[in-house]
């Protein structure tokens, strides 16, 4: 991946931000070459998951947790659904846990909104490289 491509990908990743969390903070452009070009989105998710990027900078205080839940899930239905889906029992839960489950889910959801952009970027980059390769041969 040349510098121009890295710059383009960084611009896409810079857009994936939620509150004070920005995805591009967790992957240095020098690692862009490690992304699997055949399934870039999944590869990027794996890379970020491995670095606990989605769990980073989570909510630690109950007051902040309740404020977050009030703002993004005031019925609590979504966060309780996520907790159930992830195998939590009622006695394992408190507002901080629920808020963080929701926060991580929202970050991952936000990233899914850019799945097509990321896949298209790699697809076009591969195509351009193939054309250049054919032209030089």
């Amino acid at each position: 991946m040349n510098e121009a491509h890295k710059q383009q990908l960084k611009q896409i990743l810079d857009q994936i931000e939620f509150l004070d969390w920005r995805l591009s903070d967790y992957i240095d452009p020098e690692y862009y070459d490690q992304i699997d070009e055949d399934s870039p989105f999944e590869s990027l998710i794996d890379f970020l998951d491995y670095r606990d990027a989605f769990e980073d900078n989570n909510i630690k205080k109950y007051s902040k947790a309740m404020k977050f839940l009030d703002e993004y899930d005031d019925s609590l239905e979504l966060s309780l659904y996520i907790a159930h889906r992830d195998g939590y029992g009622v006695l394992d839960l408190d507002s901080v846990t629920l808020a963080n489950l929701l926060l991580v889910d929202m970050r991952k959801d936000l990233m899914k909104d850019y799945e097509r952009d990321i896949d298209n970027f790699f697809y076009e980059m591969q195509n351009n490289n193939n054309i250049k390769f054919k032209e030089t041969n």
């Binding site: 109950y62 007051s63 947790a65 309740m66 404020k67 839940l69 009030d70 005031d74 019925s75 609590l76 239905e77 309780l80 659904y81 907790a83 159930h84 939590y88 009622v90 006695l91 839960l93 408190d94 507002s95 901080v96 629920l98």
Partner: protein
């Protein structure tokens, strides 16, 4: 029972309140004579229970206020979640409105429990008052 005694009881039952929930809502002054003054606390609790007064639906905290109520009274959510589970709710059946209503009803019952001695003492005094009134009448 004189009107004055009924007013005293009404005034007292009005004071047994929590938010918009009040014991006096479950008793008409005509019912006061049926109260078992020897065990008034238990009688009141049983009576309200029979009326469905401790059902969480009787203390509904609507969505708009539910999170505010939970934030103020159970910021960790651990108590309301535990109460919901004890009542047989599944995690997917509850929401902030149900949790807040369950918690509110629990707080109402605790409030009444905390005032059990006071309730007993009040109705003991009322019993004495009625006894005196009866004697004066005779």
């Amino acid at each position: 029972m004189t009107e004055s005694t009924k007013n005293k009881i009404k005034h007292y039952l009005d004071s047994l309140e929590f938010d918009d929930w009040c014991v006096s809502d479950y008793f008409s002054p005509d019912d006061y004579e049926d109260i078992n003054f020897d065990d008034a606390y238990r009688y009141i609790i049983d009576y309200i229970e029979d009326c469905g007064g401790f059902d969480p639906t009787g203390a509904v905290v609507y969505y708009s206020k539910a999170m505010e109520f939970l934030q103020r009274n159970d910021p960790t959510l651990t108590l309301s979640l535990r109460l919901a589970e004890d009542m047989g709710y599944n995690m997917l059946d509850v929401d902030s409105e149900i949790l807040a209503s369950i918690l509110k009803m629990n707080m109402i019952q605790n409030m009444l429990y905390d005032r059990a001695d006071d309730i007993t003492a009040f109705f003991y005094e009322i019993q004495e008052l009625i006894h005196t009134e009866d004697e004066e009448e005779e």
